[in-house]
């Protein structure tokens, strides 16, 4: 599903002393099947943006088109349920939303609400736990007996079982240990590839944005600050520093090598081994000249 925002603004508590403009005149589009990272500080408008993607919030100004669904400022959106079925949102710490007696029932909750048939639900549960690599024997256990990492997988399975076309991920790795973080991120990458899910990742991790996304949107104080491919974005070190954002470590390292030692290596997505090779060549080359 293609997604496009046209001059979207969102204002909390308009016309009150607490009025707060969380998004200001945002325009962008996301192509169906792409993997987009949204980056910004706490309070930059990221979570407001997410909530508009499945109609939890209605834009105060402008309009949003998500596939065939349209959210227009000042108009009631038709078929909000349909939209929510198509756009699956994995919120921060999604394990906090678990409530059923068994894992299977909790995963079935979403599809059941959207009126999916029993047989189909069972099929989707199987598929979802396979994708999230949860062992089948957990299905009849209480979700509250599981480890934190497993609970998160159950919650993610519950969103996947809705069979969404768009997957919105709000810091899906928060609070996990590094191994758990990598597992989860790789899992979403596989889903993105295999099912062609349009994936929107909200993250603080520049490393993840570089490793997984093919497009990056940087939000700052409710506005789009920069937009482009990861390589385009992370080359703009100074612009990012201005809004107190980091660049991925590898690019920071190369920048330093250039600035302090005049070694110029262009980053094109090489892995560390390749970089080490180039770096060695450059350094040797330099010493030959002297």
């Amino acid at each position: 599903m293609d997604i496009s925002f046209e001059h979207v603004s969102y204002i909390y508590q308009p016309n009150s002393p607490f009025e707060h403009r969380a998004l200001n005149d945002i325009t962008f589009s996301i192509k169906s099947g792409s993997y987009v990272a949204v980056i910004g500080h706490t309070g930059s408008g990221k979570s407001t943006l997410i909530q508009q993607l499945n109609g939890l919030l209605q834009p105060t100004e402008g309009s949003i088109q998500i596939g065939k669904y349209k959210l227009q400022a000042g108009e009631k959106t038709k078929n909000l349920r349909g939209l929510r079925e198509q756009v699956g949102v994995v919120f921060q710490y999604p394990e906090h939303q678990l409530f059923e007696e068994t894992v299977a029932k909790d995963i079935a909750f979403g599809p059941h609400n959207f009126g999916v048939e029993k047989m189909e639900i069972d099929r989707r549960i199987k598929e979802a736990v396979q994708a999230t690599k949860l062992p089948d024997e957990l299905l009849e256990r209480s979700p509250f007996d599981l480890s934190g990492g497993q609970m998160r997988r159950v919650a993610i399975s519950g969103v996947l079982a809705m069979n969404p076309e768009v997957l919105v991920l709000d810091e899906p790795t928060a609070g996990l240990d590094p191994r758990g973080q990598k597992d989860i991120m790789d899992m979403f990458k596989d889903l993105h590839k295999e099912k062609g899910l349009t994936t929107i990742l909200v993250t603080h991790s520049m490393e993840d944005a570089l490793a997984y996304a093919d497009h990056i949107i940087i939000l700052n104080q409710g506005e789009i600050y920069r937009e482009g491919t990861p390589l385009e974005i992370f080359k703009q070190h100074d612009a990012l520093e201005k809004v107190q954002l980091d660049v991925p470590e590898v690019m920071d390292f190369l920048r330093r090598a250039k600035k302090e030692y005049g070694v110029e290596i262009e980053y094109r997505g090489q892995d560390i081994a390749e970089l080490a090779k180039e770096l060695t060549l450059k350094v040797r080359g330099d010493s030959d000249h002297e």
């Binding site: 499945n54 949102v89 906090h96 939303q97």
Partner: protein
């Protein structure tokens, strides 16, 4: 937005009433509630009303906030008035309304009871309008202090109240978060039959309870780690102190009592 969250009805302002020791406020309100029932003449009611309105003016709380506090009870006040009007069948008939005789005594009694009601609500809402919940908690802990000797868990009660106050905004944010997450999974909290809507509350309440318990457990651990071992041997940062204003207000209140008894019939 979280910054706009107001717990209770406290309206910040710099006034004599705000600066009054919360213990004094509670004590005075307590005795005011008692003496209101002694009023029995126009003059004595006048004196009491003067005190209440005067306090409200001194508090610098905008009129509309006071009215807001009274809103839920207007109906009750009106109802009491009408009840007396129609039930009392003594004395002379004052006038007839749609063929129903309204007695003079009914008017007077209805008016008096309604006024009493109004004064009580006004004075107590002044307490919550000018005192932060935590100050009220401190005052309750102090005032109940003597009960400690009877092994009444005064300290624990106060701590419970203050922790509840501390966590109200947190739990409100959490409720919002979970309800949004469940709405994204197709729960509809707004439409449907009554039964459906009751059922929609389960996916909200269970996670809330689970998280509240987890918070409680972690908080207990954190408190213990910081050396908490009950009220014994504990010192306090929050200190209530009676000032000149308190003494002055006590004086005014004594005058009020004297005036009240002089104006009784």
């Amino acid at each position: 937005m979280s910054s706009s969250m107001i717990i209770g009805q406290y309206i910040p302002a710099d006034s004599v009433i705000h600066r009054l020791d919360p213990r004094s406020k509670i004590a005075i309100i307590f005795f005011y509630v008692v003496i209101v029932f002694f009023a029995n003449s126009v003059m004595s009611y006048g004196v009491l009303t003067l005190f209440a309105i005067g306090s409200a003016l001194l508090s610098k709380v905008p009129f509309r906030y006071i009215m807001k506090g009274l809103k839920p009870v207007w109906f009750l006040i009106l109802f009491t008035f009408l009840l007396h009007l129609f039930v009392t069948r003594e004395g002379d008939v004052a006038f007839s309304l749609f063929g129903w005789d309204v007695y003079r005594e009914g008017l007077i009694q209805g008016g008096a009871i309604s006024l009493r009601f109004f004064l009580l609500i006004l004075v107590t809402s002044l307490l919550t309008l000018t005192t932060t919940p935590i100050e009220i908690t401190d005052a309750i802990e102090e005032l109940l202090g003597p009960l400690k000797k009877l092994r009444f868990p005064v300290h624990e009660l106060a701590l419970m109240m203050s922790i509840s106050l501390r966590f109200i905004p947190t739990l409100m944010q959490e409720t919002e978060k979970i309800s949004k997450a469940q709405a994204s999974r197709g729960v509809d909290f707004r439409t449907g039959s009554f039964k459906d809507r009751v059922r929609a509350v389960v996916p909200l309440l269970v996670p809330l309870f689970v998280s509240a318990f987890k918070r409680a457990e972690e908080l207990a651990m954190a408190m213990e780690a910081r050396g908490y071992q009950g009220g014994e041997g504990r010192t306090k940062l929050r200190e209530l102190q009676l000032t000149k204003i308190d003494v002055l207000v006590y004086g005014v209140f004594v005058l009020l009592v004297i005036a009240l008894f002089m104006t009784r019939s």
